[in-house]
Amino acid sequence: MSAETAACAPMDTRHVARSREQLAIAILIALAVAAAAASLIVGSGPFAARTWLPTLAATDPDMARVIFWEIRVPRTALALLIGFSLGLTGAALQGFLRNPLAEPGLVGASSGAALGAVLIFYFGLLGASPFILPLGGIAGALLALAILYGLAGDAPSVTTLILAGVALNAAANALTSLALNLAPNPFAVYEILFWLLGSVSDRGIEHVAMAAPFILAGSLAILMSARSLDPLALGEDVAASLGVNLKRLRLTVIGGAGLAVGAGVAVSGMIGFIGLVVPHLVRPMVGHRPSKVLLPSGLLGAALLTFADLAVRLLPGRELKLGVVTALLGAPFFLMLILRRRRDLT
């Protein structure tokens, strides 16, 4: 099925795509669909080393149904949703701050969200409402983004942005450590630490249900303000003189990023670097106009995170956490970006 999707999609796109952008979007949708299909039918399981769903369906249809609906579907849906939100918010923050190094993880939004979620765990509020966890994450992410914007201002230099991100990450991590340090129950500590590493495995459909509305609302807010990001390339004054409502733009980008990242992190833990890497991969395809980078970044983020989650399942040995893998791959990319931009940094 995955091979089929991948093979026929480019043919379909030839009819629709008139511009490079549409072609890129069609290819990226095909890629995400292929990733989702592969994620639904391939996996690791406790019974067989590699659980190939069609084979299992032939021998044990009930087990296959359970695995499909209760394990594969939520896992795939979360990988797609969270990958989409990370790619999209990365691109939106880069456009908004006019800085190609902005990213939910680097600017502290993810660790703020993690802190918010950890506090929910810590104070034992988890039972209060199914939405309390994403709300905690959203509150943390919004607070971090608001402080970042307050600290760095509009169009921060690379140095200011990174320093503000370092400070915010340090503060959020310190408070998270404090919560862990004071946690009465060592098992809770272990659980939180493991959750913090970032993963979409062992999540149920209820996790999808609690995160999806916020991720979709946040993403929609960002996508709707996409066009206003373009004139910002010439500075805030020019953008305002061209009719961009800066107050509303700040609200939708920061608010949308807070909603999407906060809810995502609350469910998956910390998954870094997708938001940094993806827009850079997308720009050679669609150009540098911030509005054109948004949707393709979301799509590529969804595809990449789903493929990464697939790789995690298929790698031999103990299953690695998704956040560990994205960090292992993303950090060298970040270093490369710095190397390339060294003249701007000095």
Binding site: A233, G235, D237, G243
Partner: protein, 260 residues
């Protein structure tokens, strides 16, 4: 009908009065220079007219319409702004930078937008640069590109803040000639200038701003002859005329600006 009418414009920021009851008008087909020493309030004046900084005014009227009451996009279609800073955040092509000027207008097809951008680039003589990365341009080319970006807005009023700062002589004249062409085509241009000879050579009228007040206004010859110039700039000026254009030359900087 005047292109811009400003009455009693006052700006207070952090307890400091930056503009104090500024009143002037720019007619259609007129190009007016706003001159004055650093810190006189020239940029503040442009920005407050555009609504970029809070201000109080009895009247700000652009093309006969009360500017403050309009929606941001309507305002943007009436007044184009060319700020002093020439920044382009991404490696965008020259043509797409220019096309950003169409933002306040009803969205057109990409082709129509590109065609307008090309016409604007042709007008400033940069048609050959359309596909160049704007961040690789020289200072003069970038200034002309951003001027084309302001032209493509097709607004009846253009507010330009030191459009010739840090440009060589040829580019200075090129920019000034384009601004004057806008005025001759029926537009209104208000431009901040530091070069008084350019103001005298290209502008119909000059406004002299000093510490937030307009202290002299009129034809270039009249304002440049006014002793208020010496006081505002804190220098002793020698005056003359070359080929019919009034010029001033600094004789000495003897008189320090009176402490305000």
């Amino acid at each position: 009908m005047s292109g811009l009418r400003v009455r009693n414009l006052t700006v207070d920021i952090a307890g400091r009065r930056l503009l104090d009851g500024v009143t002037f008008a720019v007619a259609r087909s007129e190009m007016v220079a706003l001159v004055g020493p650093n810190g006189a309030g020239k940029t503040t004046c442009l920005k407050s007219i555009l609504g970029l900084i809070p201000c109080k005014a009895e009247q700000i009227e652009v093309a006969g319409r009360a500017f403050g009451a309009l929606a941001p996009r309507e305002r943007a279609r009436l007044a184009a702004y060319l700020p002093q800073a020439r920044t382009v955040a991404w490696p965008l092509s020259v043509r797409s930078v220019v096309a950003l000027g169409r933002h306040p207008h009803q969205r057109e097809s990409d082709a129509a937008e590109a065609a307008r951008a090309m016409r604007s680039l042709e007008a400033v003589g940069l048609a050959g640069f359309a596909e160049r990365d704007a961040r690789t341009l020289s200072g003069g080319e970038l200034a002309l590109t951003l001027l084309a970006r302001a032209l493509v807005v097709e607004a009846p009023l253009l507010l330009a803040d030191e459009p010739v700062a840090s440009l060589d002589l040829a580019h200075q004249v090129a920019v000034m000639e384009h601004l004057r062409a806008i005025a001759r085509a029926g537009g209104s241009v208000l431009t901040v200038l530091h070069d008084l000879s350019l103001a005298a050579r290209f502008c119909d009228r000059v406004l002299l701003l000093d510490r937030g007040r307009i202290v002299a206004s009129g034809t270039p010859a009249a304002v440049l002859a006014d002793r208020a110039m010496d006081a505002a700039y804190g220098v002793d000026l020698a005056r003359g005329e070359i080929e019919g254009v009034p010029v001033v030359v600094v004789r000495t900087g003897i008189r320090p600006a009176s402490a305000a």
